[in-house]
Amino acid sequence: MDERGLQKESRIERLLQKDWTPYLIFAVPLLFLALFLFWPLGITVLRAFSGPGFDVDLSNLGLDNFERFMTSGLYQRSLRNSFVVSASAVVFATLIGLPMGYCVARVKMPFKNLFLSIGILPVIMPSFIGAFSWVILLGRQGVIRLFLNRLFVPLGIVIPSIYGVAGIIFAMSLTYFPFVFLLSYGAFSAANPMLEEAAMMMGARRPRIMRSITLPLVIPSIGAGAILVFIRSMGNYGIPAILGGDQYVLPTLIYFRVSGFWDLNSAAAIALVSVIITGGALLLQKYVISRREYETVSSSRSEQHLHTHWLARLVAIVYCTLVLVVAMLPNITIIIMSFFEYWRGALPTGFTLENYARIPQLVSSEIFNSLFLATTASLITAALGCMVAYITERRRPKGAILLDMAVMAPFILPGIVVAVAFLAAFAGDAVIPLGGTYLILLISFVVRRTPYVFRSVVASLTQLDVTLEESSMISGANWLYTFRRVTFPLILSGIIAGTILTFATLLQELSTTILLYSARTRTVPVRIFAMVQDGYFGQGAALSVMLLATVFVVVYVMNRMLGRSISSSFKLG
């Protein structure tokens, strides 16, 4: 054998020796993303630059669709409203959710599982009914407003009705604070207590420890929660439509273009503007987080030190209960509404059980579809989000930030824009015909919801000291073994938190489904939408209550079942 042959052989040998498993495993999600994300997304971007209408015209790209942002007061006001609303919602959601996460994680209190399971419910405000329930409570004829005014007017205080920008911010903060609550709860319970103990032994007082140790440790998770709040607020159409009066936001403008003018390209352009704003927020969040290092989960662990003082416990319980009761008001309203025919004026009228009695005959296959689609999509999302997060955080390939943005984009884009991208790519005369199938819904769900797991896992990985994985590799474990036995258990709580959010929000997904469903794949929210449109609020409410109950039960069981294994997974060996 000549020299070149030897060289070649040794090169092959080296290639064979190299651990290819990670690359094989990474190839799957990347291929999936290329096919089902980059392609439809690319078409959407082209749409935005294609001039008003519906056709994608490569020969005539331009900025026509963006012109209104320069010329129209309506567009500028809506842009400003969107920004103000989302930024304020982030601030208030953090102010509400962060202390709550701390309380549930660090204070010895009963019913933790209950708090965690109920805590997710405000996020799944069923479309439109949720916003209407704020009107029922705090509108001009709202029952709570009338009641409070009866108390306070003699004192010269008048509670205003909820309409306007302040009302939108109020409703959105209370809807989305669970993102901050749940993610910061995860971080507070995962952060290494030894750091705090060390500070305490060195004589630092509690406020100082809080400021310089505890809070900085959970910043990645607060950041992840805050960015979710920001994005969801930027994209929410229902709350501003019902509570905003004539204060509009970007999603309102998108809806106008699609619903009134069938002008999808202009809608895509408006959507792109909100993607850019969100991208800016995302970069800011990354910058704030990457300014410091987070070495927190490390090999030696001890139990979390819980506050046991009676005062701390009382304050924590009262605070958490209060927040949940206020945030659950729309859900409580929906539950009450589901037992009545109408709720017009201060109190509901016409008690009935008919709304529930009719459910089985109306929606049995829809219930199956909803559960099946939400479950399957959540699991796929868990795998996909986890792997993509690992790739961007640990492998840091060139263009990781692009991958990050691409995964976030369908989450930021309005559902109707994503749905149209999917229809254009996979229906009509598409090469891969998926129109009307479960698969098209499934994939659109996965693509649109991956960011929950993705962001949550990215935050967990940021908190996780890379030396743990390195020492496993040095000790001779291969990549797969290391991932399975070291990384995965440590980020499991992040994956679960993200998956639960995915499942809960998918159960009430409407904006994509409404364009993609067929008679066979119709889901529960489609029926709720129809009922609300037709004025059957009671029936819609009954169905919404079923969704809420499902989410509550699933989350509660998950928390109970996995609660111990999550916490034990942090104790290595």
């Binding site: 619903s259 229906a427 199938t437 479960y438």
Partner: protein
Amino acid sequence: MTRRVCLAVLALLVSAGMVFAAGAPEDAEPDSLTVWSAAAEDEADALVAAFRAQYPEISVDVIRAGSGELLTRLRAEQPNPSGDVLLGIAKEAFDANYDLFTGYVAAYHDDIPEELRDQAAVPRYYGFSMPLQAFMINTELLDEQDYPRRWVDLIDERYAGELILANPALSGSAYAQIYMMHGLYGFDFLGEIARQATFVASSTAVPESVARGEYAIGVTGEGNIARYMEEGAPVTYVYPEDGTGRRFDASGIIDGGPNPEAAELFMDFLTSEDAYQIIRETRSRRVVHPGFPGPGPLPALEEITFFAYDAEEAAAMRDDLTDRFSELIE
């Protein structure tokens, strides 16, 4: 152990998912029909039931969504749309998307007045109902002598903060309202109404808000008013004395749909007296078929003052008027 069981269950679910998901798209059986409906659920169901009584061998699927979503979907699914008939969207929407529909002379063609269908020799759409725009008044908030009687009354300062309308960019009906006001009183009038009224971004919010007493006066389709009146909400109607537009919404056959023959049979049925009877009774709609009285509590056509509504001009002005009007809302 628990973990292993969990994993097994998950694996089962996922594989079940894959089996379901891999199923073929809707196959084009000759005996089926897919109706895309912007009409109400019970309405579409009642129509389909009556249709199937005549043609039991045809199975009918109904896809329900708003007209904006349905038209967007229709565009996106070109050139092989999965629906056959589009039910109950505004005539203006048909005109603006004329190329997506196919012409057919329905069996009861001659019964439908010419001005209430596509005027081509082979019409692409036939009238479904007439959603006349009227004032919806909350009777607990306003006494009868205080009701607005004409469009021009709406800017009376007595009603400041009590007036709710849908933003004209939302739908053909909402646009028709400002088009009529513009035609009657000019653009400056629109400025005054923009200051006076709240123009919300949800069409359903208008009747619901008036019925709840959040606002005293709304401008909406008469069918909404009738439905709330029949449900016992404290509301009533006022048809503006200075006239309302004679508009209609329609149904048509989707070009390139999977079941053209069944679609034609369904169009025949939709233009029959039986179908109009159902449309009139299920949702208290005013139907385009002559000879039917006003639906439910609503007055007959003869008692309503009409405004010379020029649909072509309205369509031509739409983008510009909506844009200019939008700038007035603050």
